[in-house]
Amino acid sequence: MIPARFEYHRPADVASAIALLSEHGDEARVLAGGHSLIPMMKLRMAAVSHLVDLQDIADLSGIRIEGGRVTIGAMTTQHDLIVHDGLAQAAPILREAALQIADPQVRYMGTVGGNVANGDPGNDMPGLMQCLDATLHLVGPDGSREVAARDYYEAAYMTARADDEILTAISFDVNTGGYAYEKQKRKIGDYATAACGALVTMEGGTCTAASIAMTNLADTPIWSEEAGAALVGTACDTAAIDAAVAAATAAIDPTEDNRGPVAFKMHVAGIIIRRAILRAVSRA
């Protein structure tokens, strides 16, 4: 469990970090909280000759809530999400989800940016960001650009981010509707067997907006437009929820692992999705 030799860099601003990434190409990787990357290096499954630690770049941390928009710096830790007062009002689903990530030790170190940027299908934040329709802010040698979370993930560990780009922040609209993040896992510290985020807005007994996204049920997070559509315009009665669950489960493609075979995961996913929707509706 000892990584191969590497050079350690600790730039003080984003420009220097990007310069290092450009210089070293695919030999370089940024280091955030290290709780995904360092285990991979220790197992020698990732060989990184140049580690570019982002922790000295102050601009990359912090949570801002302004004009109905939430912006979270990439280096904000998962723990910060849990203890931030304003965020619990502006997007309570984030806190609920963050509390279900790993354990406190991991959350003190693990960052939102690392969790979102990584492209690990087990990570909870990507599905959540798709659920919230978040925008990812990337900066590279050619300047900055924005990518929708719903367009960012291509396959396991394959994303729209270029090797020399850094994720600086994530932003999304304040969301105060009904919410729920349901996750089944084997124990504290485990990735999801099945997880689902649900956001439901109801006005006068009718659903006006709904967004459903799932974690660890395919090689990318899955946002199901059809599942949300099945709820919008209904009273979220049993028939509508059945339709939403059917649409969501049709979109997933889990694989067998130590958590269980595909049939089990498909079944549990259906249950978890239903529970997420029901709880979100009950809070809407």
């Binding site: 469990m1 000892i2 124990k187």
Partner: protein
Amino acid sequence: MTDQTPISREDRVEKLKGVGSQRKRVEDARFTQGKGNYVDDIKMPGMLFGDFVRSPYAHARVVSINTEAALKVPGVLAVLTAADLAPLGLHWMPTLAGDKQMVLADGKVLYQGQEVAFVVATDRYAAADGIEAVEVEYSELPVVVDPFKALLPDAPVLREDLEGKMVGAHGPRKHHNHIFTWEQGDKDATEAVLAGADVVAEEMVYYHRTHPCPLEPCGCVASMDKVNGKLTLYGTFQAPHAIRTVVSLISGIEEHNIRVISPDIGGGFGNKVGAYPGYVCSVVASIVTGKPVKWVEDRMDNLMTTAFARDYWMKGKIAATKEGKITGLWCHVTADHGGFDACADPTKFPAGFFNICTGSYDIPVAYLAVDGVYTNKAPGGVAYRCSFRVTEAAYFIERMVEILAIELGMDAAELRRINFIKADQFPYHSALGWEYDSGDYHTAWDKALAAVDYEGLRKEQAERVEAFKRGETRKLLGIGLTHFTEIVGAGPVKNCDILGLGMFDSCEIRIHPTGSAIARLGTISQGQGHATTFAQILASEIGLPADSITVEEGDTDTAPYGLGTYGSRSTPVAGAATAMAGRKIRAKAQMIAAYLLEVHDNDLEWDVDRFVVKGAPERFKTMKEIAFASYNQAIPGLEPGLEAVSYYDPPNMTYPFGAYICVMEIDVDTGVHEIRQFYALDDCGTRINPMIIEGQVHGGLTEALAIAMGQEIAYDEMGNCKTGTLMDFFVPTAWETPHYTTDHTTTPSPHHPIGAKGVGESPNVGGVPAFSNAVHDAFRAFGLRQSHMPHDHWRIWKIANGLGLHG
């Protein structure tokens, strides 16, 4: 000398903190402050670090090993292979089970993770780079992970070194992958009973492969002093003296030139009983380089290569009358030992004490056969927090009784009650050859059932089933019952030895002039709190406060010879030695007191911490006064000083027992369980420190929870270990751990000097069937008989799915 002892007898008893006191653990001050001294904390000048190149394949021929590139890695000093060890005869080593094991791959590998080469470097970073640079060419061979397939006629030959050898350490071998057959009991009589029985319940019960997974993995530091010829070996050894003897036997270094030291050990649970290639390679590397060499496993090494536990396929048949009186028990075990038979069992017991499998029941006739089998899995088969194979036995009988209850349509608590050995039947001779020392099962059982309101629970369960059938709930309620009987404290030298070393244990006591003492034992604590409890035993025996007694273990240069700590043997054996040595001290103290008080020995009586002249309570000498006198008085006919040593050979094992009840809610849709209540009644005989007992019970139950509900070492068809990290190998956190209610009855052991039986392992032994039975019981109303552990989410889901509960 003026004596400050408070007058009241109660005060004097309390001040001793002897047997029965809730004395706080003296070890915890250093552990809770991070000041423990574990093997990886040991640093010596010039120390090198060794680590292994391990096989990625489960079964392959090693075609070639090229170390050239590795030797060029900065910091790498040497790379040892079997070819280097062969001239010393050290490329293979004996196992504790009478087999032999490769130290480094000799032509082939038999399991994934097997040690192939040992890289010695200036630090562990360089060693890791060196490992990557060693080029090994393998040619893959067909893999066998299923012990039943391993015994097919055309199964690949795993142990080519044994080809043609049709007799092994434990008798005839039936097949090239067969290790031994071990038979107990009366086959013909048992089969006759089965043939004529009203009811026979038959089932295959699998106790899956798991791993003790101590917090601290295995490791050592070997230091060969070439000037004086002395080898010092620090290591995570549960049996330091036995390790010294083994090292001497296989290295040829004389035993007085070997000093083995077990420093603080971060949990053992059986994982640290055996001898591992890392120890041999470190010793050889230290001899070769003249420098101290450290080897410490990482978590994956530990889970994948050093001593697993269980992996028993237990086929059972249990016969009974219509009324539920058990008339006979038949069992056949297929035991998967992996690539080498490296079980840590007493020599004459290749399946340990599995013949305790008649459990708490008065079963007139029984038969048992165990077949040991080689497969392409890691070796081991150690007693994971249990006496040798006792956990497997307890699980087997506690499942068979539940299955018999189903067959008879009876309540499982009632079935147990009518079959328990009765209090007046002790000492009880079991059909499979043991003499149970003492017990009162009915009292314990009734107390347990009353404590949980058993009747009420059954009513609630029946209502739940109805509500489930009406579609009002998706949760079922399981009531997991267990009454276990252990056999611990190995053991009488006449039938228990390891490598020919009798399984006695020892204690040596020195009383200092000012009335404090040091006691040294042949055992070694791995978290059990020996320094606390052995001082308590002694305090009660010799009347000096436990706080004034140092307990020291683990250094073979200073401690008396003993067989170490595992199989709950410390209290039954070394604890007995401590009491007996204490009594020798007291006997001499009595003579000194008699001299000082100018009376005859027989005129004195012992009173807590002093000898008092019978009928003259004002005339006494305290132990503290006597201790001083032993150093400053010339007493005719007595040697100066106050010391004693005892080597204790127990006349019998001890038989702790207990009644555990687990109440579990099960979500049939997700397979998620929730433990609503867990009640654990333990009877470990005399209770030395109730707080330590409670801690042991909590810890053992949590391991049992892990094993029953998710923990396993699993392999795929290619022999790849799928559970090599703590992400997949389940170790519960505080979150998954339920609240436990502990309780007790006290039935002392009649043959142990203070009546104590040992408790450290009971909760693992009794806990696993309690959790597993709860899962099974939840589905009993829907027709479930047997479903193998671990009961993780998907396997519970699979039960529900198979019973048609998903619609």
